[in-house]
């Protein structure tokens, strides 16, 4: 089928605004790759360059081994689903889906069978004669997906297709698109700013920030082995807690926060990586789920904190507290007896603490487990 290869892709707008810098990644055949990052990170621009809607300043894009830099969108054999659906308002659902095929002069019967098939997959059979304005948001997005499916393209591109839907529908459509990916066995590139969508849908995820690709990896690798502080903070919900401090030599290497409110001895594995950092500032990262109300290990760091806010979710609770004026979140079992203003004992396993270089933000130590 089709793979997509981006080689040193750079995009500079007319005003000299550099939105994508030297992007390199490969989407394998039948793979679902998600481009994710905060808004303005260049992910949509990257997708639009693959689509052919945006000119490439420098670099090369290959689809199925063929250089497509100078090919117009229609010759790239790709289909795109837009964030705002972009349905043709004057056409019925059927005509919307058939439009591309009609332009290609596909046989009428073939068009009909393909549209009907897509409508069946997407549950749109009873709506084929309706105009887009008579459909709900979810149905409209389904039509937009259907318009892509009927073309049987080599590659599907999705540009934040779910961001206009309400939360419940978004979860539902998320699984539907994942299912569709398996059903069609197609190569898909999906852009989103929502890390949950990225984590749940992607075979692999490309994380971008300020036009630069930070990491390309599987969802679990991104979660477990983020290459830098940005990735660590972006992946995971609630986000990772960060605290800056210094490494010092006191009975072995020790991390000490700026006001010494928080300190712990580095584990033997961590020490190996941080020998050169004595006297230097670093940032530690602790995932909310790695802060516990139970002491599971002798080496755990114990905290005694005043509670700021409790957010009970039912199956779990989020606890907000401060260390040196930095807000921390812990994700713990639901604790009904907790009260705001009271104190709570929390435990952190030092093995699960991430360490980042303060200057570069790079991760200093990987939890390979």
């Amino acid at each position: 089928m089709a793979e997509v290869l981006l080689k040193n892709i750079t995009k500079i707008y007319d005003g000299g605004n550099k939105v994508v810098t030297d992007a390199n990644f490969k989407v394998e055949d039948k793979e679902f790759v998600v481009l994710v990052g905060p808004s303005g990170c260049g992910k949509t621009t990257t997708l639009r360059m693959v689509a052919g809607l945006e000119e490439i300043t420098s670099g090369e894009i290959y689809i199925d081994g063929k250089l497509v830099n100078n090919l117009p969108p229609k010759d790239r054999d790709i289909a795109m689903v837009f964030q705002n659906y972009a349905l043709y308002p004057h056409m019925t659902v059927y005509e919307n889906m058939a439009f591309g095929l009609k332009l290609k002069k596909v046989d009428k019967k073939e068009i009909e069978s393909r549209v009907k098939e897509a409508a069946r997959i997407l549950g749109l059979e009873t709506y084929l004669d309706r105009k887009p304005k008579a459909l709900s948001g979810g149905q409209r997005q389904r039509v937009a997906v259907g318009r892509a499916i009927v073309r049987k393209p080599k590659v599907f591109l999705f540009d934040e297709p779910l961001s206009n839907l309400d939360a419940k529908l978004r979860v539902q459509m998320r699984t539907e698109i994942s299912k569709l990916h398996k059903q069609l066995g197609a190569t898909m590139i999906y852009v989103t700013h929502d890390q949950t969508e990225a984590m749940t849908m992607g075979d692999r995820i490309v994380i971008m920030k300020d036009g630069i690709i930070n990491q390309v990896d599987t969802p679990l690798n991104l979660y477990n082995k983020p290459v830098n502080q940005f990735v660590a903070g972006f992946i995971g919900s609630p986000a990772m807690n960060f605290l800056s401090g210094t490494i010092s030599e006191k009975n072995g290497l020790m991390f000490e926060s700026n006001n010494s409110e928080f300190k712990f001895h580095l584990t033997s594995v961590q020490k190996d990586y941080l020998k050169d950092y004595v006297g230097k500032e670093i940032i530690i990262g602790i995932r909310p789920e790695n802060i516990s109300v139970e002491n599971n290990s002798e080496t755990s760091i114990e905290l005694d904190c005043p509670l700021d806010v409790i957010e009970p979710m039912g199956n779990e609770s989020f606890i907000y507290f401060e260390i040196e004026k930095t807000q921390f979140i812990a994700r713990v079992k639901p604790l009904y007896e907790l009260k705001v203003g009271g104190k709570i004992k929390l435990y952190i396993n030092p093995e699960k603490i991430y360490l980042f270089d303060k200057k570069t933000g790079n991760h200093l130590f990987n939890h390979s487990r």
Partner: protein, 270 residues
């Protein structure tokens, strides 16, 4: 409630005031000579007669003038809509060198009154050999900035993603224009078509200047000639006016339902 009554009262009164001359025109056209020029005016013809129409069709080659008017108005409107919609679409959705400057120059030309351009226009068309031909009416009406501006503003409101979706679907630029832009722009196209049709149909001064032969005259010009000969014959004049006005009213009534149609609904979510 009172507000409503006042509003409806106001609307009814203005409607009546607007309609009175039309009704009088219609009534007078069915009267014998001299019956209409009385005060207070009478609206119902008594006795009823078709004499004025008979005279009208005898004295003037009404059918010929009617055909001229209809042909010219239709051709001008069709070409005008085609050109202005293409230009408006291009100004709204394409990037090309000098776009802004060109548009501003065109826009500023709107302040030049049309009467000022008549003489140079006449000389130009004369040198082209188009005076006293249909081309003399058609060529100046091909396009104008007013129409381009209106279409451009409308096209700007059509989301780019719609055009991009069509492009991804394999549409060429012309197909995008014809299959996406034109159907979506119907309300504004109809508005412009009405303007253009009425404008050409009712235009008097330019056809009077550019057309010199009886057989080329449009209805208003022919009617004006009639007026010069029959200044004291309001009944005949009114019959001529009725013949002139009816087609325009039909065109307007036929097209007005497209005016307010919210055709963009449901396409995209912003």
């Amino acid at each position: 409630m009172i507000k409503r009554i006042l509003l409806y009262g106001f609307l009814i009164i203005t409607s009546i005031l607007t309609l009175i001359p039309f009704i009088w025109m219609l009534g007078a056209s069915f009267m014998f000579d001299g019956k209409a020029s009385v005060f207070p005016p009478i609206f119902l013809p008594d006795p009823f007669t078709l004499t004025q129409y008979q005279i009208l069709f005898e004295r003037l080659s009404v059918w010929r003038n009617f055909f001229n008017s209809l042909l010219l108005s239709t051709i001008v409107t069709l070409i005008y809509i085609t050109f202005t919609s293409m230009a408006g679409f291009a100004f709204a959705k394409y990037r090309f060198a000098g776009k802004r400057v060109l548009f501003n120059v065109l826009l500023s030309s709107m302040i030049i009154p049309s009467q000022v351009t008549m003489l140079p226009l006449f000389l130009m068309l004369k040198s082209m050999g188009f005076i006293n031909t249909y081309m003399a009416i058609i060529i100046p009406g091909l396009a104008n900035i007013f129409g381009i501006f209106l279409i451009r503003q409308y096209c700007i409101s059509i989301p780019d993603s719609l055009i991009e979706a069509a492009r991804m679907d394999g549409a060429t630029d012309f197909q995008i224009y014809r299959k996406v832009i034109l159907p979506l722009a119907i309300p504004i196209l109809v508005t412009l078509a009405i303007f253009s049709f009425l404008g050409t149909w009712n235009d008097f001064l330019w056809p009077l200047i550019a057309l010199t032969d009886d057989s080329m005259y449009t209805l208003p010009v022919a009617l004006a000639n009639l007026m010069l000969e029959h200044t004291k014959d309001p009944e005949l004049m009114m019959a001529g006016s009725v013949v002139t006005i009816i087609p325009v009213i039909i065109v307007f009534l036929a097209l007005q339902k497209y005016y307010i149609k919210g055709i963009m609904m449901g396409s995209v979510k912003e």
